[in-house]
């Protein structure tokens, strides 16, 4: 297969991103660029889905992989990006950010994510991660006239650059211990020497920071709160999916069979901390957006449970969970953005949600579906995702970890359901007049809710044969 074809989704997005920049330069209207962005993401999504059924292998002299995990990662990333861009229009218009350069920034960061999610070499991993992060620093600082925006960007940037130092040092030590940067070449010669382990530890610190796992999560709530809500959804789903897919690739391809234990022990501890701390602090939040930020930390913890299992089953569970998490989380953020759009940016306190459910039944019901799914209650996709992840942990003998995970997600029911209590069972003291949502927005949110329900009732994998596909891929 030609190299360009192997990275076709990324190439499409990159070209569309550059065209969007040019259109902005020639003063085309933001709506045209918005339409182009959606068309580009749709085209790339189509290519990625087609590639899922094609063969897999490496391209660009072993720098990237295609097919299998990489294609599935691309599908999840593009799905998350598509939904968050589609629902962005009305919200961004309200805060004067419905502009071509914002969309081209989003597109360029998607290129980074796609490179990250197909990295087969520590160099392409590093560059993909940094391309994504630098775009996200900018996206976090888009709301400049409010202090929170610039502050979120500064915190994210300083801590992110600090973490990059550790990540790069980790890569340097792994390179020093093995003399290679290619994941499979490293796996072939790696021995658990001190230097290799030290490098792995530093690399893990960098990755844990980027996914917001607990000792390194301090930036997450601030950044998620300071970012425009629909773009928070983009950061919380697409960026996190990309990093997790890269994590899966590194764990499944770089580590020699005998050495996974040392990593999985560390990941177990971090997973427990992440689930417990994320859920506990989320319990205390009165701001819905901040609550969702902490809940996304908790979800990173559930995802780490699958990685801690360290088996192909666990990795498949992680990939499925990423799909589930993307659909339900973008949905929840979209509805919050809808409320915010009508009532101003400060409209994220839980008290102000009182009685909204009956006033605007469609959005109330949709938000409830997403929240139920986030809790992990059976007929929704969130349950299926959690089931796969925890089942993999139990089969790998990590029963205490799975029990802590189930308990933590049971505790999470409190703060998700609390939002619903306010929506439907509290009286509102004020009269609200919400503008009706645009057709495009409503249909996107309804589609997400439909996906949440469909894959919950029909708990097959989103694309038939995924497990065999991915298992065969690990034996490459």
């Amino acid at each position: 297969m030609h190299d360009i074809i192997a990275f076709l989704p990324g190439v499409i997005i990159a070209v569309v991103g550059l065209i969007a920049l040019l259109m902005e330069a020639y003063k085309k209207s933001a709506d045209q660029i918005y339409g182009l962005t959606i068309a580009g993401i749709l085209a790339a999504l189509g290519v990625a889905i087609a590639a899922l059924f094609g063969d897999s292998g490496t391209a660009f002299t072993g720098m990237i992989v295609y097919g299998g995990v990489a294609s599935f990662g691309a599908v999840v990333i593009l799905l998350g990006s598509l939904f968050s861009v589609v629902v962005s229009r009305d919200y961004l218009m309200e805060i004067d950010l419905h502009r071509g350069d914002v969309y081209s920034m989003i597109l360029l960061s998607i290129v980074g994510m796609l490179a990250l999610a197909s990295a087969n070499d520590l160099i392409s991993f590093f560059l993909g991660l940094e391309t994504m992060s630098i775009c996200l620093y900018v996206i976090a600082g888009l709301i400049k006239d409010k202090k929170t925006g610039a502050e979120a960007a500064l915190k994210y940037f300083l801590l992110g650059a600090f973490a990059t130092g550790f990540l790069l040092y980790g890569i340097a030590l792994i390179y020093g211990a093995t003399g290679h940067t290619n994941l499979t070449e490293i796996a072939a010669v790696a021995e658990p020497t001190l230097m290799f382990m030290g490098g792995s530890a530093l690399l893990l610190v960098g990755i844990f920071f980027k996914i917001g796992a607990v000792p390194f999560h301090m930036w997450t709530p601030d950044v998620y709160q300071g970012t425009p809500t629909t773009l928070t959804a983009f950061m919380a789903t697409a960026a996190k999916s990309a990093t997790f897919v890269a994590f899966v690739l590194i764990m499944s391809r770089m580590l020699p069979e005998s050495d996974t234990d040392i990593w999985t022990n560390v990941i177990q501890v971090v997973a427990i901390l992440t689930m417990v701390v994320g859920n506990l602090i989320a319990l205390a939040q009165d701001n819905v957006k901040r609550m969702l930020a902490y809940s996304s930390i908790a979800h990173a913890g559930y995802l780490l449970v699958g990685l801690a299992a360290g088996t192909p089953e666990g990795f498949t569970g992680v990939l499925y969970y990423l799909f589930a998490y993307t659909v339900m989380n973008v949905g929840a953020f979209s509805v919050i953005a809808y409320y915010e759009r009508n009532k101003g940016l400060d409209f994220t306190e839980i008290e102000s949600y009182a009685g909204l459910g009956f006033k605007f039944p469609l959005m109330g019901v949709l938000l409830s579906i997403f929240l139920f799914s986030l809790v992990g209650i059976p007929p929704f996709v969130g349950f299926v995702g959690k089931y796969y992840v925890f089942a993999a942990a139990i089969n790998a003998g990590l029963i205490p970890l799975a029990i802590i995970g189930v308990l933590a997600s049971a505790a999470s029911a409190y703060y998700y359901l609390r939002v619903m209590v306010y929506l439907f069972f509290k009286d509102s003291h004020k009269e609200y007049s919400l503008k009706p949502a645009s057709l495009l927005f409503s249909s996107a949110v309804v589609l997400m809710a439909a996906l949440t329900l469909y894959y919950g009732i029909e708990p097959v994998l989103p694309f038939s044969g995924l497990i065999e596909l991915i298992s065969s891929y690990y034996s490459l």
């Binding site: 160099i123 202090k147 610039a150 300083l158 990059t164 040092y169 709530p221």
Partner: protein, 100 residues
């Protein structure tokens, strides 16, 4: 000839000085300069390993890490300018609106 461990030790010392700088300084610009120092220390490690293995990949990675540092510098300084316009200060202890 000097052993590679001397180069690596120099790199580790500079990296540590960078970390301490990030942790104790309050001026966002200086913190960012300390991060640049950390990246530099890593580059030194990479080049030592590259010479040790007689392999070019380490030097290539240094080139890319230089590009990343340049890109980070551009975006980072833009963010620092934005925060200065809001706060009239680059002191990170004055930047604490968002707390959990």
């Amino acid at each position: 000839m000097i052993g590679i461990d001397w180069y690596l030790a120099l790199s580790a010392i500079l990296f540590t000085i960078g970390i301490i700088g990030v942790l104790i300084r309050r001026n966002a610009i200086v913190i960012f300069m300390c991060v640049e120092l950390m990246l530099n220390a890593v580059n030194l490690s990479l080049i030592s390993f590259s010479a040790y293995h007689g392999d070019i990949a380490g030097q290539i990675l240094v080139f890319f890490s230089l590009s990343v540092a340049a890109a980070e510098a551009v975006v980072g300084l833009a963010i620092i300018i934005a925060i200065f316009r809001n706060n009239l200060s680059v002191d990170i202890t004055k930047v604490n609106l968002l707390r959990w």
